[in-house]
Amino acid sequence: MSGQSNRLPSGGLIDRTRVISFTFDGRTYSGHPGDTLASALIASGIHLVGRSFKYHRPRGIYSSGSEEPSALVTLGEGGRTEPNIPATMVEIFDGLVARSQNRWPSLSFDLMAVNSLLKPFFPAGFYYKTFMWPRSFWYRLYEPAIRRAAGLGTVAELPDPDSYEHAHAHCDVLIVGAGPAGLMAAQAAARAGARVVLADERAVAGGHLAGESIEIDGRQCADWAQDLYAELSELENVRLLPRTSVFGRYDGLTFGAIERVSDHIGADTPNLPRQRRWTIQAKQLICAAGAIERPLVFEGNDRPGVMLARAARNYLNQYGALPGRNVVVAANNDDAYLTARDFVDAGADVTVIDGRPQEIVTGSALLADGVDVRFEQCIAQARGKMHVSSVRLASVDGTGESEIGLPCDLVCVSGGWNPTIHLLSHCGGRPRWNERIASFTMGKLENDVQAVGGAAGTFDLQKSLHEGVAAGVSAAKACGAKPSRTVTAPSVDKLPSYGVQALWRALDSVSKSGAAFVDFQNDVTVADLEVAEREGFGHSEHAKRYTTLGMATDQGKLANVNAIGILSELLGTPIAETGTTTYRPLYTPAALGTLAGQRQGHEFRATRHSAMHAWHEKNGAVFTDAGLWLRPYYYPREGEDFAAAVKREVLNVRSAVGMVDVSTLGKIELKGPDAGTFLDRLYINSFSKMKVGRARYGVMLREDGMVFDDGTVTRLAEDHYFVTVTTANASPVMQHMEFCHQVHWPELDVQFCSVSEAWAAMAVAGPKARDTLERIVQGIDLSNEAFPLQSVANAKIGDAFVRVFRISFSGELAYELYTPANCGLGVWEAIMEAGAQDGISAYGTEAMTVMRTEKGHVAGPELDGRTTADDLSLGRMMSERKDYIGRWLAARSGLVGEGRIQLVGIKPVNVGDRFRMGAHLVNAPGAIGPDVSHGHVTTSVYSPACDHFIGLALLKNGRNRIGERIFVASPLHQEIVEVEVTHPVFVDERGERMRG
């Protein structure tokens, strides 16, 4: 195990009494509770943690937060492998396994680093310009090779064994960020009585205060923050969400967040999800998300050992980890002087390079005499191979001699601060350039949204605390709370003012802009921006797409504003005119598993089973999806394949008797004196005059005149109807009926209700269907005279109530039986037993499809939303004596006449041929193209009755073309089959069987 050579003996929020061991690239290291992977590596003297995306340059730890662009690692093993995780956000635990990425064979010796030597040949747009021809090579050769060379970590190819969940929270006030302003806002809002959610992406509360050496109310600020956080945790009206990244704001103050529930504990958490996705509904938002420090842009600014200034003192103060002893602090603002002071206090040698003139600098007062501070200078170049070893200085205006070789092992940079305004602009708010802080802040916010502290561009700690209190009180008041106990902000030591002066890049003429990085994660340099500007892509939205700047997993948190500043210099336009890019969710990357939550595998969506499902399973059914339903597709017997099973099932119905589960049909009951009138207006045919005890096929149209749905309408009593609709349309038809009743015809006295789940349903079909049912159905005479086609009556099977309908989809003598769902299985089994001597067998949806096709009955493939009733030969049903939905538009000129596609049957001229659903109908075998199609095949099945394939088709002017020979073409499969156009009914054309 390697020792913690850079760990200070005391200080910070870590527990030195316990030691945690973990591995990085196979080597074992140690740290303490409270450490992140990054802080533990720094304490162990490790800076090199990764290789860059494109040039494979060595990269170190650059920040201490979620904005980290460089220190991305792969965590875990096997199915738990997770790539591209910032080491700065990983809390270590015993047994943690981390690996570096994008290197081979090893991190310190990476062969692909040769890319770095070829860098002059890889400017922005290089791939697109170079690997253009031949075109086919792009997919086969260039792209795979480029993808291998570039990139980050690799995803696991095994299933993820962890569990995830979704949760919802509602609150009055959501506060994002538990830094100084957020904590004060939470305290003020909570004490006023508001329901508060306080979310922060880090494990430790306090925001930057966790890593500062500042006194608040006479105490160390980190302690002050911990105590306040503990106080909030005691309050019933406060929900604290640590380790929770609020990744997006959606319309109406709805927020998405991800909580890392057990990532910091390790794998041994069987009762906890790994992560939890929150949907948070708030009435008020207080954005206290802080600000992100900007890098400085100079040659070699990506070397390991170059680090953001506040991150460096964060490692020092929060973790007692010393990232360097010979320190250069380079800055354009006063905040960085706190870093210089803290490193001097820790015993380091410090030199400060300040780009500003001495007269406006206030931070230097923090430093003891004798600390070397140089004004109006900047770093032009950082040198060193695997680690920074020296910096070369230059004057900020690019004039004068540059100074060579200031030795160092840590370069702390601060180019100013960018308010974290992402959440504030997710719903369309545009950021505005703010000259005072040389960055973007939001313009006017909505009434129920406030920004405080760094997120509002307030970089004064005392002022941030006051803003937090004020925002908390006003948000609580807006939610109806009446603050009684006042909260006052504590007092803070006087700190230097911010005093930033923009410094977008080193202008020194000697250094190479091709190694001055703007976007570390996507390896975008100043030179790339120069190319973009030169080629006319200088607007920030163009440059982003031209160079890929800001498009990596960190979404340009560090890069975007610097890029806009540099582009504005290159273009010679003010920043306000250079444009900003648009912030979109997700603020931080999310694991797909977390977004999916519980909805994985079988739980991806609900599964619906009919009441007879257990029987189907027991009897070997192969199931098919019908919407959410699982329906028996066919019931293969020993040695049977699909075709053999379906053929047997069909022949059994045609020769004896079969039974099919039709419980999935949508079922609606209607009652009321106007129920018949209501149905008359919905369907093309009439039901108000239908006799009680009768059932009839019905068709309904949409307003545009196309067929919407079909089914059976039954009159059970004078004012009581029962309607079935197709499985797929059960829900849309119900919505349609409700719309028609509530909006079009509220004056109709009718009530209706979906009863789809209340009834199990089965069809018993075949010449022996009556024999079977007569044995067990009690209470009705099933003879043809007493119970002819289209009859309906109530009866009993055993103790079960059944409603018996004499209707037929198969074309055979058939009955549909509806029974309360809890009786479904019993009734089904009773019929199976009663029919045993008739040779009854169950049949699935495929046999049903074969038989309805043999009978020319239309179903889903024909009711495709583009067909009229007349197209489907149902035009005769369209009543002339009443008004109904779709009547007038069905009669418009484009939907009638010879040009329409019409339902026909087709059969192959050579009986052995088969054809596909979806294939086109053409006049000549060679005809291919958009204009030659005369229609298409909607259904294609093997017909046992005909002993060859048959199909239904929609053919232009088809009814006048019966007997013609045409061709079915599927160019994709290189198939051409000659077919004869037929009448769509192939079996029992006169319908004698179903009436028998």
Partner: protein, 92 residues
């Protein structure tokens, strides 16, 4: 996003189904010659940037059809009411 159902109060978006433009009046004409009025009702819809009236149904709740006035540029809902009858309807 939440939608204020007049019966159920503020409810999440996923309980609702969108039902289209609510600014149109269903024609009452009953002659072939009225086809153009029907075409207008079914096909010709404004797509305003700003306030729009549209039908929604609270399918995961009371199943009421409601009319919402929504600003299409920021999804702010300024009004929600039970869907009023769109015509005087037919005979009783």
């Amino acid at each position: 996003m939440q939608i204020p159902c007049p019966w159920c109060g503020l409810r999440p978006l996923d309980e609702f189904a969108y039902g289209g433009d609510a600014t149109k009046k269903r024609p009452t004409g009953k002659r072939q010659a009225d086809t153009s009025a029907w075409v207008d009702y079914v096909y010709i819809h404004d797509n305003p940037a700003g306030r729009h009236r549209e039908y929604w149904q609270h399918v995961g709740g009371c199943r009421s059809w409601i009319v919402i006035t929504r600003d299409t540029t920021n999804h702010a809902i300024s009004k929600a009411e039970l869907a009023p009858p769109d015509s005087r309807g037919g005979r009783r």
